[in-house]
């Protein structure tokens, strides 16, 4: 059994109002080029409402189980000691001939204390957060329509997350 990650930031994603793509160098004072300042990121912040983007991906042919959604981002702002970052996912997984339309399933969330009381992240550090999903809700070749967001109900961190990747993690046979 091996663990895989596939990028789910496809061309068809739709950001919420207030979420935008930008050069990282426009958001932080990056090192001399070439550096991360030259790269593109999706800028998402916690603004008293869930904020993120909607998109879709196909569950791979070798999917067996252990699904997760994994965020990779750069922190833009020094977290306080007890500050919490949180992410959430609502989705609808549909097989061929399944009913595609319908309100997405209830949210699944993950959070972490990212300041010195927890993981000890600092300003402009790389951040990984992952949501452990319900395995039985996914199957090979399901189209997964989803809404991924920073979860407002738990988060206290007020800086930007410069999102460089969101991945579907799973185990094969």
């Amino acid at each position: 059994m091996a663990t895989h990650r596939i990028d789910i930031l496809g061309a068809g994603i739709l950001p919420d109002s207030g979420v935008f793509f930008d050069r990282i160098g426009n958001q932080i004072t990056a090192a001399v080029s070439p550096s991360i300042g030259d790269l593109l990121a999706m800028v998402i912040a916690n603004v008293a409402a869930d904020q993120g983007f909607k998109g879709n991906f196909l569950v791979p042919k070798n999917y067996v189980g252990a699904p997760k959604i994994v965020l990779r981002a750069i922190l833009d702002g020094a977290p306080g000691a007890a500050d919490i970052a949180a992410i959430g996912l609502r989705k609808r997984a549909v097989a061929n001939n399944g009913v595609a339309d319908g309100t997405f399933d209830a949210e699944e969330i993950a959070s972490a204390t990212i300041g010195t009381n927890g993981s000890g992240h600092s300003d402009e550090d790389e951040l990984e957060l992952s949501i452990t999903l319900t395995a039985g809700q996914y199957a090979v070749d399901n189209m997964v329509y989803y809404y991924f967001y920073l979860d407002d109900s738990v988060a206290t961190y007020a800086g930007n997350l410069l999102v460089t990747g969101v991945y579907f993690e799973y185990a094969d046979a």
Partner: protein, 86 residues
Amino acid sequence: MAILADADYGALRDAIYRKGAGKEELKALPTLPNKVILRAIFQAIEDNVQASRAPIKAAMDAAAGFALSPMLARKFYAAYVTVKGA
């Protein structure tokens, strides 16, 4: 004077957390004020918007839990005016 709505807070936070609008001053702090504190600072402006400069600054400092630099205080106020009007 009113309790700031979530949408107001979102717009205010976005207005100040931009380069040139306050982001540099906020990032220069040892830690970024969290969501509750940022909101409290903007609420302090809202509550004192018809007062003169000194009481507004005092209310902002009290909400922040530390003395804002004059430049950062101005930028909070400028963000407030941008979103809510003078």
